[in-house]
C-alpha cells in the first residue's frame, strides 16, 4: 500500500488544478448561505482559499468521500485575514485522480481537536 502523499503535495495539486481550471465548485447550501450573508462570490472565495492554502494551517485527511467513490477528502482550517473573509474557515476539498472540487467553505464551528494536524 502506498503511503499517503505529504500535505504539501496535496496543496500543490490543488494549486495546480486551480491554475489549470480543473478545480470546480461542488457547494452545499450551507456554504452558499455563508457566502451570501457576506455578499461574497464563490469564485472569489475559491481564489482566496487556494491562495492562502500554502500558509500554515491545520488539516485532516485523506478520508473517503461518503458517496463519490473516486474522491478523497482533505479538510483544512484556514486562518484567513482578508477583511471580508476574516477568521478561521473550514474548507473541504475533494480530489480525484484527474480533478478536484471545493465542497465546503464556512466559518469553523467546532474547536480543533487531536484529529487535526498543523503544517
Amino acid at each position: 500500500m502506498n503511503p499517503d502523499p505529504p500535505i504539501t503535495k496535496i496543496i500543490q495539486r490543488i494549486e495546480h488544478d486551480y491554475a489549470q481550471q480543473h478545480l470546480s465548485l461542488y457547494l452545499h447550501k450551507k456554504s452558499t448561505d455563508f457566502l451570501r450573508s457576506r455578499g461574497l462570490r464563490a469564485r472569489t472565495v475559491l481564489r482566496l482559499t487556494v491562495r492562502q492554502l500554502p500558509n500554515s494551517h491545520d488539516y485532516r485527511g485523506p478520508s473517503l468521500h461518503h458517496w463519490l467513490t473516486e474522491f478523497t477528502v482533505y479538510e483544512f482550517i484556514e486562518n484567513i485575514l482578508d477583511g471580508d473573509l476574516n477568521g478561521d474557515m473550514y474548507v473541504k476539498f475533494d480530489l480525484s485522480h484527474t480533478t478536484s472540487q471545493l465542497e465546503s467553505i464556512h466559518p469553523r464551528e467546532k474547536p480543533l481537536n487531536n484529529t487535526w494536524t498543523r503544517y
Binding site: 465548485l25 447550501k29 448561505d33 451570501r36 455578499g39 464563490a42 472569489t44 477583511g83 471580508d84
Partner: protein, 173 residues
C-alpha cells in the same frame, strides 16, 4: 415551503455518473444583514431526502446561479450601484482605486473587490460610493477633510497626485 421538483439531470464525475433531482423553492435569505425572498434552484442526489436542506447542492453547471439571482435582486431592491457604474464614475473623475478608497473611507482591497464584482457592497458602503456620482459633494468633502486625507495618504503610502490634479481642474465643476 416544500420544494417543487423540476426534473432530473445526470452529471458525470470522474468514473461516476450521478443522477440529481432538481428542485426549486422559495427562501428568505440574509444578504449583508438584509432579508431577501427569492426562488432558488438546487440539485439533490437522487434518493436523498428532498426536505433536508443539508442535501442541497448548488447547480453543478452554474454554482453561482442562486447567488447571482439574489445579488441582482438585492441591488434592485436597495437601488445599489452596479460595479461598472462605480468604475465609470471613478474613471470619469480620474481617480485611482487607492485614492478613491481613501476618500470614501474603504479599504483599497474592499473597494477593488466591489468594483471587480467580487463583493457586493452593503447599503452603507453604497451611500459612500454614491459620492463618486456627485462630484460637487465629493469636492466639498475632500476640501473639508483635506488635511486628514493627506495625513492618511502619507500613512498608507497613497499617491494623491490624481486628487491634486482633480481639485485644481474644472473636472468637477
Amino acid at each position: 415551503m416544500a420544494p417543487k421538483i423540476i426534473g432530473q439531470t445526470i452529471y458525470s464525475f470522474p468514473n461516476q455518473t450521478v443522477t440529481f433531482t432538481i428542485i426549486e423553492l422559495q427562501e428568505v435569505v440574509l444578504i449583508n444583514g438584509e432579508k431577501i425572498k427569492n426562488t432558488h434552484r438546487y440539485w439533490v442526489p437522487a434518493g436523498d431526502n428532498l426536505a433536508n436542506a443539508e442535501n442541497y447542492v448548488e447547480p453543478l453547471t452554474n454554482p453561482e446561479e442562486n447567488l447571482d439571482a439574489d445579488y441582482q435582486l438585492y441591488r434592485q431592491q436597495f437601488n445599489l450601484l452596479m460595479p461598472q457604474e462605480i468604475r465609470q464614475a471613478r474613471e470619469a473623475l480620474g481617480l485611482s482605486r487607492a485614492t478613491t478608497a481613501l476618500l470614501l473611507k474603504l479599504s483599497e482591497t474592499q473597494f477593488a473587490a466591489i468594483e471587480d464584482d467580487d463583493l457586493l457592497q452593503t447599503r452603507k458602503q453604497d451611500a459612500k460610493l454614491r459620492l463618486l456620482k456627485n462630484p460637487q459633494e465629493l469636492r466639498t468633502s475632500v476640501t473639508r477633510y483635506q488635511k486628514t486625507i493627506e495625513r492618511q495618504a502619507t500613512r498608507y503610502q497613497v499617491d494623491l497626485s490624481d486628487l491634486t490634479r482633480l481639485l485644481s481642474s474644472n473636472a468637477l465643476s
